[in-house]
Amino acid sequence: MSVSLFEKQSVHSPLATVLQRAGEIILGKDQQIKMAMCCILARGHLLIEDVPGVGKTTLSHVLASLLGLQYQRIQFTSDLLPADVVGVSIFDRETSTFRFHPGPIFSQVILADEINRASPKAQSALLEAMEEHQVTADGETMKLPEPFFVIATQNPAHHIGTFPLPESQLDRFLMRIKLGYPDKAAERALLKGVDRRDLIARITTAMSVKELASLQEEVTKVFVSDALVDYVQALILHTRDSAHFEMGLSPRAGLALLRAAQSWALMSGRNQVLPEDVQTVAPAVVGHRLRPVTNGDIKILDPAQELIRAVPIP
């Protein structure tokens, strides 16, 4: 049996629609949109990092709307309290009991804007929910709705008034992507075109929750061969042995890499993962988990590319 790899595959049509419509609003960023979608299909949380004004928030709005998910936006500020995220218990006079008023976190998609502007306390309220898919308030544990994922945006760490997320919390985001400035043609179209906010308001759902859930299920079934596991292991091992990185990748990072690669393979219309899939998602998956050694002469600008180039495919 052979697989035809070299002709354009017919991608699942609702997925194609999502990607196409998102591309109509966020111009010239097809690859980033695809990567964000890949992250969602892999059931991962997404972190979008870039300077203000390149469309981070727009992208998260567009994706949530297109997927027809119930979403809440939390604008993180330095005085945000955990209760503002999770919710508060208020005394009900009629029943003489405390009643829990759920916070914005109880929705399918959370748009956590400028997450690194909040204090670590508020950040951790969100991040705990991300990992456990549940929140605890007043000693009571409450399940969060399904699907549940967070699209967080943040400004680059060196900007004024930011609390950089520690490694342990960065690790909870499956991917971190950067948008970057649009190219010349896209920017021109943007400047001449309609207001993006109007476009978002007009978005109609392109994929049902059921379709999304089944795609997420399919991702886990994309075949991973022993040879590919060897490759992922070689990559992880290299980060642990190499003198170029301060810390190696965790097992969780390895799982994330594999799952993201599965998701990418599915979006490329394949039911087996290739080393190329791993290489494509690697910058987004490991970029925020690897800290290159900065002292000395060696200065790695792109740790993920460095990693890929250094490890031969077994």
Partner: protein, 653 residues
């Protein structure tokens, strides 16, 4: 410029360091300007590498080479010979590095460096030199490894560790070649000597010659006795016999040669084996008096033992001597006449005293005894004798009365001749030190000595040592005990109460002995003995050659087996091997797969550059991806074999 990538600063620095190491032992022998040219060339090359400059143009190099070669010709006066050859080789090596433009050019200095390492053995064949050259070769291999790295710079560890392994792996083959390579009758590094500048006795003796030697700790020869070692006072190692007195100096008479000495032995004979350090002179040393000359040697009429060729390499010979003997009693006046001659223009007081003595004491034996008594009473033995003027014997005998063996032997013989008694000076070595580990007697230059032989009617030639009369300790106990510390080694040995340093010194000497026997002196004969000891019969060069070839194949085979077994352990999956074959075939189109490039990426790149080839290879890539990454059912083994067959049939052309 073509590919300059290999000529990085680090690689150049390594090459220069390796060259400095290998040239360093030569520096003391080179003219100073040659060393300066080398340093200048090295510094220049380093500067070029440091600042990525261009190398000097060819005609410039040509002019420099011409100038330096002319300089060498003027310095040495010839083109051929060891000294000038080594000097030219070093100069050419240093100029060659200025011509390096690409990786290939760096190979020439490195291989010249290996050759230059060998030239050091023309001057010194000690253990230390062997170790030093081992290190030199190690550094050169480390430099070679650096030049062969692609893209990345080799670290210190990445150079030295594999280089060391390569050297260690070469040892079995080295041993096979060393023991089995057919030997010539001389050592490999015996080259025509330019100058004789080694320490040792010479064929003339003037005051101060032997006392100069007496501070040298260098080994003159080593002796293994078959039986017990004789008493120290019997250990007179006979060297040049000096019969002619010529002003201040004593010289050798041109005397007839003999194949056998006629003497009447008394007492038992002793057998021993002498291993003589090269001293560039033809004489050999034996205990008074040797019975028969070894092969390649003969006697002179004055009982000197001589080799037919100068001893330029370590020489070993077996010999038998009798310590008690009667010799020359039959000689007549004609044969003895040369031993009565003296230079009458010098030393008038001594000559007059000798003549007077004969008138006072006509009996020769009584005269000799009276003279020895006078030496004993009035003279002092010293290693720092006062300087002597125009009539040295007069001044020594009547004024200073302080001297070394050559003063005693010289004045004694002159006095006897003036008195009309035949006498002559004999030089050689006296005594020796027993190494308790090897049971060998080690005779050093410090043991150089001069004594006299006097002819009496009926008795013939009798050894008389006037130094013994002055300082019996010198003869009885040996040099170092009579005179305390001589040289650094002895100072240490004497300071050491526990004897540990002495033990080390003797162990070191024992090691040197083994080295001399098994490495430097591994001659044709030694090789034959060794191989016969291993059970080989009828050893000739043909059988050695056959064993050599067999040995080379055997060591090569063992190494090959080792590599094969290791390859089995780390063998790749068959599918990967087949895929790599496909990639290497496609690499001929100029599109080579990078190690980190996946199959689809590689195929897409191929399609952009070689679309036709990509179309042709597409099914193979699809099969590979399916076999390696897809959840393929069926019989994968058969599929892999089928894939391998298709790849084998795939043609790039």
């Amino acid at each position: 410029m073509l590919n300059q990538s290999a000529l990085t600063l680090a690689n150049i620095t390594w090459l220069l360091a390796a060259m400095a190491f290998v040239v360093a032992p030569h520096v003391a022998r080179l003219p100073i300007w040659v060393s300066l040219v080398c340093v200048a060339a090295g510094a220049w090359r380093w500067w070029i590498a440091r600042h990525a400059l261009r190398v000097p143009p060819w005609w410039w190099m040509g002019l420099i080479a011409l100038a330096v070669a002319t300089g060498a010709r003027m310095e040495y006066g010839r083109w051929f010979g060891r000294e000038v050859g080594v000097a030219l080789l070093i100069i050419m090596l240093c100029l060659k590095i200025l011509e390096m433009r690409m990786k290939r050019d760096a190979m020439i200095p490195i291989f010249m460096g290996f050759f230059l390492a060998m030239t050091n053995f023309m001057y010194s064949q000690t253990i230390l030199m062997g170790l030093y050259m081992f290190i030199c070769v190690w550094i050169f291999i480390a430099a070679l490894i650096g030049f062969n790295r692609i893209n990345t710079e080799a670290t210190l560890k990445e150079r030295l560790v594999p280089a060391g392994w390569l050297l260690l792996q070469a040892i079995p083959m080295m041993l096979v070649l060393f023991f089995l390579f057919p030997r010539l009758s001389g050592a490999l590094w015996s080259m025509p000597q330019d100058e004789s500048s080694r320490t040792g006795l010479s064929d003339t003796m003037s005051p101060g010659d032997i006392s100069k030697l007496s501070v040298s700790e260098a080994v003159a020869f080593r002796v293994e006795f078959d039986g017990a070692v004789p008493q120290t006072e019997d250990l007179y190692w006979r060297g040049p016999v000096l019969g002619e007195q010529d002003g201040r100096a004593w010289r050798m008479y041109p005397v007839a040669t003999r194949t056998k000495l006629n003497y009447v032995p008394q007492g038992t004979s002793i057998h021993y084996r002498v291993t003589l350090q090269p001293h560039n002179k033809p004489w050999l040393f034996a205990l008074d008096l040797p019975a028969a000359a070894p092969e390649d040697a003969y006697f002179l009429a004055d009982f000197q033992l001589r080799s037919r060729t100068p001893v330029t390499n370590l020489k070993a010979y077996d010999i038998t001597s009798h310590l008690r003997y009667t010799v020359g009693a039959e000689l007549g006046a004609k044969e003895l006449q040369p031993y009565l001659n003296y230079d009458a223009r010098l030393n008038p007081r001594t000559i007059a005293y000798g003549k007077q003595l004969r008138q006072d004491i006509p009996e020769p034996k009584a005269l000799v005894e009276a003279l020895l008594a006078r030496y004993n009473k009035e003279f002092d033995y010293t290693l720092q004798p006062p300087r002597l003027g125009a009539n040295p014997v007069d001044e020594f005998f009547f004024d200073t009365k302080k001297g070394f063996c050559e003063h005693y032997a010289g004045s004694f013989v002159l006095l006897l001749r003036a008195a009309g008694i035949p006498a002559r000076v004999v030089t050689g070595y006296q005594g020796g030190e027993i190494n308790p580990i090897t049971r060998q007697l080690v005779v050093r230059q410090a043991e150089a000595h001069a004594w006299s032989e006097v002819w009496f009617t009926d008795l013939g030639w009798v050894r008389v040592d006037p130094t013994f009369a002055v300082s019996p300790l010198r003869i009885n106990r040996g040099m170092s005990e009579a005179f305390g510390p001589i040289g650094v080694m002895n100072t240490l040995i004497d300071a050491d109460k526990l004897g540990l340093l002495r033990q080390i010194a003797f162990s070191w000497d024992a090691m040197n002995t083994q080295w001399n026997r098994w490495v430097v002196g591994f001659s044709q004969d030694r090789q034959r003995d060794f191989l016969e000891g291993l059970g080989m019969r009828d050893v000739d060069w043909r059988s050695i050659a056959i064993w050599l070839i067999a040995g080379v194949f055997a060591t090569g085979g063992v190494a090959g087996m080792f590599l094969y077994v290791r390859a089995l352990h780390t063998r790749k999956e068959p599918i990967v091997a087949v895929y790599e074959r496909l990639c290497s075939k496609l690499a001929k189109t100029g599109v080579e797969r990078a190690p980190h490039e996946g199959p689809v990426d590689y195929w897409q790149r191929l399609q952009q550059i070689q679309p036709k080839m990509a179309q042709k290879a597409a099914p193979l890539f699809e099969t590979y991806v399916a076999l390696r990454y897809a959840a393929s059912g069926g019989e994968p083994k058969r599929n892999v074999r089928d894939f391998a067959w298709r790849v084998r049939r795939f043609r790039v052309a």
